[in-house]
Every structure is written in structure tokens, then in C-alpha cells.
């Protein structure tokens, strides 16, 4: 891969848990993100997939430094984000943006949508005059399929899909290179999901955007991503390009996720084998010893309950599983 636009190394985000009672003691941590590494190349879409609560949003927020990571490093276009002063970081925010999971919560209810979209322009001094600003806001609203006449209206007057379009316009205002799309359609009616999805796709093509696209099931990123990273309980278990991830999933968790995605051909759908995961996702406060997936893994064997598998290359995939660890005896799966 050529010089990546974003690279994340061993990112950790722990949320402290305090005891209740008169004296608040730091008793434990929610290990929301626990050693995540990946790279996103310029112009590509990396899909980040995993069940609810596995740490996808937290990864996106820490990557953009909207929450302080506990450990690890994020490099954006050559700059180590940790080393930036707060002024440099705010300036860098021009080049990165986030589209949030819940469009009902991400727009300030006291601001008209015109003001919301204009805010990035004001913050970074990107419009010299009021006329220029108004013109640019109109342009941005049109770009996302909203009429500029709506600029004086308030978020509560819009549907979820329209609000998400406002959120997209805000994200585009500074002409960023990189956008974290955090389940941008998950909260929307099914009937309008495709419209927003197509918009994001078109924008990427026209503007040459780089996406980290978060979703909780594989079908949502299937057609959209160049590569896909699968996350489980704060860790990445497998990264591969879209086609080979779908055709030859390596990690048992990826295999289980894929078997849950319906296949359009009914004959195939009926005959194929389904893998049903048993048990619940363990708590990120108290993850199991060894591989985080071992309590639910159908192929669990000796080292799984003792050692953490690390993400290593195996036939074009990066996979964190003892089944593919060259130092382990090879078992045929």
C-alpha cells in the first residue's frame, strides 16, 4: 500500500469505572478499544464492522481525537496527532470530519440548518464575506440534495434522512480529505437508506474522499468498501479486501457474521450452512483470558484460552486467530 492517509497503531481507549459510594475509587476500566491498528489509503473506503458495543464509535472518535485515547498513535498524512498543539489540531480538523450515528442528536436544535452548515466556514475563516458564506452554504445544501431555501429552518422540521444530509453538508464544508462515517444510515427508515448511501458514494467519487465507514453488519458495507476490518470486543480480528473477505473469511467470527448475511439466490440461501453464535458478547470490563472470541468460538483449541492472538498476515488477510498463527500447529478448519 502506498503512503496511507491515516494510520492507527495500537489504539486504546479505556473508560474508567468508579466505585459508587462515599469514596469514588477507580476500580476498573471499560476496555472499549484495546489495541486497534489499521491503515486507510488515500481515496479508499475502509469498512469497520462489528456488533453493537464492540467499540466502533469509540475508535472513530479517538482517531479524530474527539476523545483522548488511553494509548497508541494516530498518524494523519504524516502528522502524529498526539504531538500537535491544540491550535494545530483545530486547524487539522479542516481536513477531517465525522458523520454521526444519530442524526437526531448531532444537530444543535437551537441553530438553523444554514447556521449549522456555515459554522465550519466561520471557524476556519473560509468565507471572506457574508455573501460568499451564504453562497457556499447554498452550494453545500444543494450538493447533499436539500433546497437552499430551507436554510432558515430548524432541525426539528426535518426527517431523519434530511437531517443526516445536513450532517453530511456540515462535514463537507471544509472540503476534508477524510470522513469517518459512523453508521450514517442505521438510524434512518429503510426506505431512505439507499438514497443517503448513494449520496455518500457519489460524493466520494466526485470529491475523492477517503472514508472510514462504520457499520454493524457486513451487508451494509458489502458493496461500498474496498477493504473491510472486522472488530470484536475492542479488537480487530480480521482485515481483508472486500472480495476475499466475502469469499474466504478466515476468522471464525467473520465466518459467523457472513453466515448471517442473507444471500439473494434462494436456492443457495436454503442449502448453505448457517453458523449460529452461542452465548453473549463478554463485558469489555472483564474480557476473557486469551482470545476475546474464545468463549463463543466453535473452533476453540488449546492456545485460545491462554494467549492473545496477534493480527498477522495469512493468505492476503490480516487475521488475529491461533488457527492461522504460523507458530502454532496447523489445524485444518
Amino acid at each position: 500500500m502506498a503512503e496511507p492517509l491515516v494510520s492507527v497503531r495500537d489504539l486504546q481507549v479505556y473508560f474508567p469505572v468508579h466505585s459508587t459510594g462515599a469514596i469514588r475509587r477507580h476500580v476498573n476500566d471499560v476496555k472499549a478499544v484495546d489495541g486497534v491498528s489499521f491503515e486507510v489509503a488515500r481515496g479508499e473506503t475502509l469498512g469497520l464492522v462489528g456488533e453493537s458495543g464492540c467499540g466502533k464509535t469509540t475508535t472513530g472518535l479517538a482517531l479524530l481525537r474527539l476523545i483522548e485515547p488511553t494509548g497508541g498513535e494516530v498518524v494523519f498524512d504524516g502528522d502524529v496527532m498526539e504531538n500537535l498543539t491544540s491550535a494545530q489540531l483545530r486547524n487539522l480538523r479542516k481536513r477531517m470530519a465525522m458523520i454521526f450515528q444519530d442524526p437526531y442528536a448531532s444537530l444543535d436544535p437551537r441553530m438553523s440548518i444554514g447556521k449549522i452548515v456555515a459554522e465550519p466556514l466561520e471557524v476556519h475563516g473560509l468565507a471572506d464575506s457574508r455573501t460568499e458564506k451564504n453562497h457556499r452554504v447554498g452550494e453545500l445544501l444543494e450538493m447533499v440534495g436539500l433546497s437552499p431555501d430551507y436554510r432558515n429552518r430548524y432541525p426539528h422540521e426535518f426527517s431523519g434522512g434530511q437531517r443526516q444530509r445536513v450532517g453530511i453538508a456540515r462535514a463537507l464544508a471544509t472540503e476534508p480529505d477524510f470522513i469517518v462515517c459512523d453508521e450514517p444510515i442505521a438510524a434512518l427508515d429503510v426506505s431512505i437508506q439507499a438514497g443517503v448511501m448513494n449520496l455518500l458514494e457519489d460524493l466520494q467519487r466526485e470529491l475523492g474522499l477517503t472514508y472510514l465507514f462504520i457499520a454493524h453488519d457486513l451487508s451494509a458495507v458489502q458493496h461500498f468498501s474496498d477493504r473491510i476490518a472486522v472488530m470484536y470486543l475492542g479488537r480487530i480480528v480480521e482485515v481483508a479486501d472486500r472480495v476475499s473477505l466475502y469469499e474466504q473469511p478466515k476468522h471464525p467470527y467473520t465466518q459467523a457474521l457472513l453466515s448471517a448475511v442473507p444471500v439473494p439466490d434462494p436456492a443457495v440461501e436454503r442449502s448453505r450452512q448457517r453458523m449460529v453464535l452461542e452465548g453473549d458478547v463478554p463485558s469489555p470490563i472483564d474480557p476473557p483470558l486469551g482470545c476475546n472470541f474464545n468463549p463463543r468460538c466453535p473452533q476453540v483449541f488449546e492456545p485460545c484460552t491462554e494467549f492473545d492472538p496477534s493480527l498477522t498476515a495469512a493468505a492476503g488477510h490480516d487475521v488475529a486467530c491461533h488457527l492461522y498463527d504460523p507458530s502454532e500447529p496447523v489445524l485444518d478448519g
Binding site: A105, D108, P109, M111, E119, P120, Y154, A171, T174
Partner: protein, 301 residues
């Protein structure tokens, strides 16, 4: 585009403010309160012009006469017209109320914003200070402050303002703690907005509702406090009329001339109730969920 703006709703932008006003206008008590306040403010401004007699026109032969066509509220022990004095005193009551509450707002709200937004040490420090102020009963604290500053209208404003500052700091901080966790605040940070901008453009507008309600309710209590201080001789000084003073003077003639105390007492009652009705109405109109958040400091007198 598959999701169109609902055309029925598209006729005109509906602002939250208009919605709030409509709800407020549907509340009969709040409307009554608003009417009373309008009259009161009018009287406060034009009191001296409306008053049929001068406030210090002494008329000993006609002292302690009951309400009549010539003296609607009767006369006091010096033969002064009680109606004129009640009307003229409206101004000082409103002035003390507005200035004292304005002081509490201007000091308390920024303290609450800073404490709630930055949290940590600055929060503990500021709120500890507010707790100390708040731990005294309101009127005792005001008296103590006046004992230091000396009696008078100006000092009464400062004293009452200081007494009400912690309420505004607390209410603001409480709302800021909630609002600063909102996703739209994070979104503002994501596009590069700095702390000051976030506080001014995103936090403050979203914590205004409880502050507005508290302002209205505090006006009632501040006016009551002023009356209490003047009653004790610590506020408005003679020969200027104040409702609290007149009540105190009327006490000595309660058997002979009950009107001397009843009418200024009624003026206080009507004013305080009017502000309370409007405040309650605003609270319901702005956000019914806020009910428990807003503190009222009822032990004023």
C-alpha cells in the same frame, strides 16, 4: 431525492420561540400574570404622573381617613394619600427586583457555564463558594451583607443580587453538565470549534430555558426580599415610599387605619403572584420536564 420536506409543514418556519409563546398564551394564569405585570411596569414608569397627590403632601387635618372618592386607599398618619404612595413605590420595587436579579444573572450564569463545562478543579472551587453563599437563609444573608455595606436601596440591590447568584450558578451548571455531553457539542468540536465558541453558540442557547424561568421566579422573590428589607428599615429610606416600609408603618395603626397596611400588602402580593404565574407558565411552555430542576427559594420572608 426520496425524502421530501413535508409540505404541510413547509409553509413557514416554525420557531421554538413561537411554539413556546403559543403554549404560554393558552395558560390562563400566565396570561393574567402577564397582564398584571404589564400594568405594573406601566405604573412603575409613569407612577408620578398618574398619582393624584404628591407622595409627601402632608395633610394633618385629614390624617387616617378611610378609603373614599378623594382618597381611594385612604390616608396615613400624616394625611398622605396611600394610593399615590403605593403607585409611586412600584418603581423602586421593580428597580430593585430587576437590578438585583440582573446582577445574579450576570454573575451566576457565567460561573455555572465555566464550572459545568470545564469541570474538575475549577468546578469544585466555584461551586464550593456558591454552596457557602447558599447555605445561609436568604434573608439573613441579605441582612448580614447590609450590616456590612450599610442600609440603602443600592446596597439592598447588591445584597439581594448576591443572595440569588448561587441559584443561577447551580441551575446553569446542572444544565451545562447535561448539554455538554450532547452529540451536537461533539460535532461542533469535530469541525474545529473552540471552547469559547462552543460555550457561547451551543451550550448557552441550550441552557436558556431553565434560566429564563428562574429569572421570572427570582424576580418575585427579589421583590419580596426588598419588601422585607424595607420593612426592617434596611432598604428604601424615608421619606421615600416603599411597600415594605408602608407595611411596617401601617402595623402601628392597624386597629385605627387598616388600609395603611392592607393596600401596600396587596401590591406586594399581586406583584409576587404575577411573576410566579408567568414563571410557572414559562416553565410548562418551555419544557415540562424541567420542573424538578428549577429551585425556588421560598423562605425569603
Amino acid at each position: 431525492m426520496s425524502d421530501h420536506l413535508d409540505d404541510r409543514l413547509a409553509a413557514k418556519p416554525v420557531s421554538r420561540t413561537r411554539e413556546t409563546l403559543q403554549t404560554l398564551m393558552a395558560n390562563k394564569l400566565a396570561v393574567a400574570g402577564l397582564i398584571a405585570l404589564t400594568i405594573l411596569v406601566f405604573v412603575g414608569i409613569f407612577g408620578e404622573t398618574i398619582a393624584p397627590y404628591g407622595i409627601n403632601e402632608i395633610d394633618i387635618p385629614n390624617r387616617l381617613t378611610g378609603p373614599s372618592g378623594t382618597h381611594w386607599f385612604g390616608t396615613d398618619d400624616l394625611g398622605r394619600d396611600v394610593f399615590s404612595r403605593v403607585i409611586v413605590a412600584a418603581r423602586v420595587s421593580l428597580q430593585v427586583g430587576f437590578i438585583a436579579v440582573g446582577f445574579a444573572l450576570v454573575v451566576g450564569v457565567p460561573i455555572g457555564l465555566v464550572a459545568g463545562y470545564y469541570r474538575g478543579g475549577i468546578d469544585s472551587f466555584l461551586m464550593r463558594m456558591m454552596d457557602v453563599l447558599f447555605s445561609f437563609p436568604a434573608i439573613l444573608l441579605a441582612i448580614a451583607i447590609l450590616a456590612v455595606l450599610g442600609p440603602g436601596v443600592g446596597n439592598a440591590m447588591i445584597a439581594i443580587g448576591l443572595v440569588y447568584t448561587p441559584i443561577f450558578a447551580r441551575i446553569t451548571r446542572g444544565s451545562v453538565l447535561v448539554v455538554s455531553e450532547e452529540v451536537y457539542v461533539r460535532a461542533a468540536r469535530s469541525i474545529g470549534a473552540g471552547n469559547r465558541r462552543i460555550i457561547a453558540r451551543h451550550i448557552l442557547p441550550n441552557v436558556m430555558a431553565p434560566i429564563i424561568v428562574q429569572t421570572t421566579l427570582s424576580l418575585a422573590f427579589a421583590i419580596l426580599s426588598e419588601a422585607a428589607l424595607s420593612f426592617l428599615g434596611l432598604g428604601v429610606q424615608p421619606p421615600n415610599p416603599a411597600w415594605g416600609r408602608m407595611l411596617a408603618e401601617g402595623r402601628n395603626f392597624f386597629q385605627q387605619a387598616p388600609w395603611m397596611g392592607i393596600f401596600p400588602g396587596l401590591a406586594i402580593l399581586v406583584t409576587v403572584m404575577a411573576f410566579n404565574f408567568v414563571g410557572d407558565g414559562l416553565r410548562d411552555a418551555l419544557d415540562p420536564k424541567q420542573k424538578s430542576v428549577i429551585e425556588s427559594r421560598g423562605q425569603s420572608v
